[in-house]
Amino acid sequence: MPRKVLSACFVGACALCVGLALVPLAFVLFFVVSQGIQSLNVDFFTHGPRPVGEPGGGMANAIVGTLMLTGLAAAMAVPIGILSGVYLAEYRGSRFASAVRFAADTLNGVPSIVIGVFAYAVVVLPLRHFSTLAGGFALGVMMIPIIARTTEELLLLVPNALREGALALGATRARAVFTVIVPAALPGIITGVVLALARIAGETAPLLFTSFNNRFFSTSLTQPISSITVQVFTYAISPYEDWHRQAWAGALVLVTIVLVCSMAARLAAARVASIRGQ
């Protein structure tokens, strides 16, 4: 019967689509791991870059840079993001909340390179310097809407009885939120923050002209600083074999960060769900 045949073909085509998407994933992971592992050694984590032609060296400065940049971004985005999320969840009906929600979704869709241009205009130009601060600011701007929307969603999952109970006991709104509702959602919020951090750590475009790059070890907030992603970019488009190897090693580190974070988040979420379920 042709209708049944057609239906079976359709099911097969859908399964094929899944396969088609998983092929590039497997390819990317395979190359990153197989190429990266060859040049990943202790030096990679403990040494800075060597001059061209001198083999070896590593990305210690870039690793420190990425840690500082994501740290700055988190310091900026976690408080703003979580408190905006609290507002969105607590006053979800208000017109202002809709406006903020809209702004968050808009900001989420802004290309990261445009965020870089913005950070250049408001931080780099006034300071007259590429700097860690500018890079951290750009990443922070990207992180705020992610955290705000995640927090909002998780707070809405907290049973209303908890809120009502706290208010019935005479708690102020602030007390109810900060001692009852937010703690109930905290594991989920932390998971969201970790995922946002993993995503931010892999960003390159907003850093190109904010934190720029630095061949040397630096922890200064007002100087240019290296990051794993920008360093991988620099190495990847260079003509040197040895730098290409370093780029693959850097990519392996980035992918590992992403993998570990998303697996940890998934495990944490499953655990929370199982505790709630009991």
Binding site: L6, P24, Y87, A103, T106, P111, V114, G116, T150
Partner: protein, 312 residues
Amino acid sequence: MRSSDFAFRVGVGAFAAALLLIVVAIAVTLANDSTLSIQRFGLRFWGTSNWDPVAGEFGALPFIWGTLYSSVLALLIATPVALGIAVFISELCPNALRAPLIFLTELLAAIPSIVYGLWGIFVLVPAVRAVEIAMPASLRALPLFSGPPLGVGMFAAALILAVMVVPFTSAIAREVLRAVPASQREAAFALGATRFEAIRAEMFYARTGIVGAVMLGFGRALGETMAVTMVIGNNPQVSLSLFAPQYTMAAVLANEFTEAANALYLSALVEIGLVLFVITLFVNMLSRALIWSMARQAAPRPAVLVPRGAEA
């Protein structure tokens, strides 16, 4: 309302206002910093292709062309695959497979753009070059395939963009399909429909939301920077050829922003950023409106449909 409650509302409201402020500040800053170029070139900026920073001549047509062309090509490749995945995961696959498949597609979205770019340069581009060389001469005569087989160029960029867009579109399409009331499917099956026919009915019901999901992928593709910059060849020209090295708005920002030696050059680049911002804003707003109206229509269960990047 207690005064302490009012203070709390104002306090957290101030943080929420920061979000609004940032979006407004981005728009104002970009508009402000591109006035020089807007006044100097006007609409000519988007109609000419002469990009010569040394002579102070800036025409951005090749960049907007490259951005739109690469994104449309990516959508053509990605949309059927993404919808197929969404249907498979939400309707067809065994329960045990669902969670792992969702995890894997999310992983596809979580891999940093720079890693795709690196892979693009060293693995995808040589493969594309081999395909281009192997292509028969009769096909090579078509404008679509003209030009030397370089590997880098529009085709490589569209492929890599497609890979990056698939997880976004399929995640939203999955949510949209989930929001279709079960009665739709049940009714179709009750009338004797095959699986394909039932799913076709569901997809028809969800069409607005699905268009929204595709638009959202389009918005992602428009702004994608690193991977595209690394494989598209960075040559400002307007060409239909898939094999020609071209350029995108995001790529020219990434490559030239730190080299902008004078105010006019910088202003021209910021104008490109401004237009990229406005285009992605419109595309995202439209896609959200579509997804929302679909959610309204299907409303019995309040599905959380508004996408966030953190899903990766």
